[in-house]
């Protein structure tokens, strides 16, 4: 079983790939845009995770 972070990264990877390929035709632009989306997903997940850490759930 992959960890929560691993599944988050896997999910972010696939979504970033599809968004990047839809949005751009040039491979370099696709890689740059995909990397930004992937980084944004993972960073947002980590930040939100830490923000929710003190919540009593």
């Amino acid at each position: 079983m992959i960890s929560h972070l691993g599944l988050l990264a896997l999910f972010a990877f696939f979504v970033a790939v599809v968004f990047a390929v839809i949005a751009h035709d040039d491979p370099r632009q696709q890689v740059a845009f995909g990397a930004r989306i992937f980084g944004g997903f993972v960073a947002a997940g980590l930040v939100l995770g830490w923000l929710m850490y003190p919540l009593p759930l």
């Binding site: 079983m1 599944l7 896997l10 999910f11 696939f14 599809v18 390929v21 839809i22």
Partner: protein, 133 residues
């Protein structure tokens, strides 16, 4: 390069946009492959199919169409966005979902988002067939 782009554009203009988007919905990436966008089509085929299979592997659920429960209905529509793979999975008895599994919600996220992304891909195929892209 100009020749390749010209032939791709010619092919796009000969295929009805609705047919291209319907095929793109039915089989992930097939619309772009038909329109001559091979690389994009292959990427969509591999990425969306992988997301769908991972969702099933994580014990996600192909939600039933229940009109009385709007959220379940929306999830059902989203998961069917992947097209034929969802129908095949249903016929093969997959996608019942295991609510008690730790990965259940992860699986649902993968299944639902793969369907929604495929609908986006189908809209993109429509634009390509119209010559907008």
């Amino acid at each position: 390069m100009k020749t390749v782009r010209a032939s791709t554009a010619d092919r796009a203009q000969t295929i009805p946009p609705l047919a291209a988007s319907a095929l793109a919905w039915a089989v992930p990436g097939a619309g772009h492959l038909l329109l001559g966008r091979r690389q994009k089509g292959l990427v969509f085929l591999v990425a969306l199919s992988a997301m769908f299979l991972i969702g099933l592997g994580l014990s996600g659920r192909l939600f039933p169409f229940v009109v009385a429960e709007p959220l379940v209905m929306l999830a059902a529509l989203a998961t069917r966005g992947i097209g034929v793979p969802a129908l095949l999975a249903g016929w093969l008895g997959a996608g019942h979902g295991v609510v008690t599994a730790a990965s259940y919600e992860y699986g649902n996220a993968f299944l639902i988002v793969s369907g929604l992304l495929n609908l986006l891909v189908a809209l993109d195929a429509y634009d390509v067939a119209l010559g907008r892209k």
